[in-house]
Amino acid sequence: MSLIEIRGGAVTYTRRGVPFVAVRDVDLAVEPGDRVGIVGGSGSGKTTIARLMLGLVRPSAGDVLFRGRSIVTGSPDELRRSASLVFQDPNSSLDPRMRVDRIIAEPLRRRATPVEIEEALASVGLDPQHARRFPHQLSGGQRQRVAIARALVADPKLLVADEPVSALDVLVRGQVLRLIRDEVTSRNLALVMISHDLTVVRELCNRVCVVHDGRIVEAGPVEDVFQRPRDEYTVRLLEATLSL
């Protein structure tokens, strides 16, 4: 049974009173331990697919199943306990009024022990002394490490990362990506990585879905899609990706 599955999913938003279909006909299953990249340009619908998967937006058509049970007609509570999210910009995703230890303990819904905080910080390569700091006292890379520690503290089965390194410095990017890769591997987590950067997806994922104009236009094992793209849009994305 898949960990999470979208069947014929569609999401319609209203823009200035006019219905606007953000994604349609989305079929996507994520197995336990799977590492799926969702790639596409700005406005392609890739973030909407992630929101759909996490029950953060209601489908206008289709269904979303967590371990075989609909989270649309049933409760999304079990999914919410088993999935966590890392956003692009840790500046806006971390509460500026909270110290790091409280931020990390948020998903536990209880006060964390000092040992738990120390372990959570150590798992993302931060010293215990960071526990009493506020987000503004940390660098961008440290803030994203805190966001990752928070995402992992409640022992999720699925980690969804939405452009987790786009806002980071070029040298810090590699460190944070290595951290995500190592944590996902050692905890055997399923990973959904949303990115416009194909290099990032190639490094971290085993499967990739290419999203264009609200549809998945191509999906398959990463190396197949990168080496033998079948869709014209995938070809354009690959051609536009600059590398050394």
């Binding site: 340009g41 070029v170 950067d197 994305l237 536009a240 600059l242 050394l244």
Partner: protein
């Protein structure tokens, strides 16, 4: 004499030295890439040249643009210069454009300045069309938030070149864009920067290589390496450059 000559440039904020005795030159049709990670001093260098640093910055050394010394220039004189001899294209067009003003009006203001100087008539639509905007009338009537990131950056490029400046400083001009739009904007920049001097600031070597042949690499406010972009990428001499190259190759 080069069009832009930077000599022994140092920028301090209190006790912090952000740019440390930096020197380079750019010919009148030359392009120079400035590469570095966050805090390397690359953006402070470009802001110093554009005269856009905060009042707390202490700038020493020399910046000569077309023979004119810029260090110590008054803000009024700088404003005159920014409208004519040099312009800047920033990373985030959403913050560089006025969110409360229609794009066409913002462009018209720059055009008015140009017409006062040159006496030549220009139209908003023609200037927007020149930077590859397909429906210039609609874009001109839009507010910045109603446009895509690529359209906003094109509008900003249009404004930057209306006065035909001799030097255009581009600071991470494609960092906020997705790969497809980035490619289009780099193509456009390559075109509009022809026949003028350009500084291209970025943390991304692959991006800089698209538009520049010559680069300098900055770390802790200093130039640690410089040369032909392909040579630097192939055989980086400095350990820091090697790390930047590895990061750009994306190898974890």
């Amino acid at each position: 004499m080069s069009f832009l000559e930077v000599d022994d440039l140092t920028v301090r904020f209190g006790d912090t030295v952000a740019v440390d005795h930096v020197g380079f030159a750019v010919e009148d049709t030359g392009r120079l890439g400035i590469i570095g990670a966050s805090g390397s001093g690359k953006s402070v260098t470009s802001l110093a040249i554009a005269g856009l640093l905060s009042e707390t910055a202490r700038v020493t050394g020399s910046i000569r643009l077309d023979g004119q010394e810029l260090v110590g220039l008054r803000e009024r004189e700088y404003r005159e210069l920014r409208g004519s001899k040099l312009s800047m294209i920033f990373q985030e067009p959403m913050t560089a454009l006025d969110p409360t003003m229609r794009v066409g009006r913002q462009i018209a203001e720059v055009i008015a300045l140009h017409e006062r100087r040159s006496g030549k008539r220009l139209t908003v639509e023609a200037e927007l069309a020149r930077v590859g905007i397909r429906d210039p009338q609609r874009v001109g009537e839009s507010f910045p938030h109603q446009l895509s990131g690529g359209q906003r950056q094109r509008a900003l490029i249009a404004m930057a070149i209306i006065n035909r400046p001799g030097l255009v400083i581009c600071d991470e001009p494609t960092t906020a864009l997705d790969v497809l739009v980035q490619k289009q904007i780099l193509g456009l920049l390559d075109e509009v920067l022809t026949d003028r001097a350009a500084l291209f600031v970025s943390h991304d070597l692959a991006v800089v290589r698209e538009v520049c042949r010559h680069i300098i690499v900055m770390e802790h406010g200093r130039i640690v390496e410089q040369g032909d972009v392909d040579d630097v990428i192939a055989t980086p001499e400095h350990e820091y450059t090697a790390r930047l190259v590895a990061a750009a190759r994306g190898t974890l």
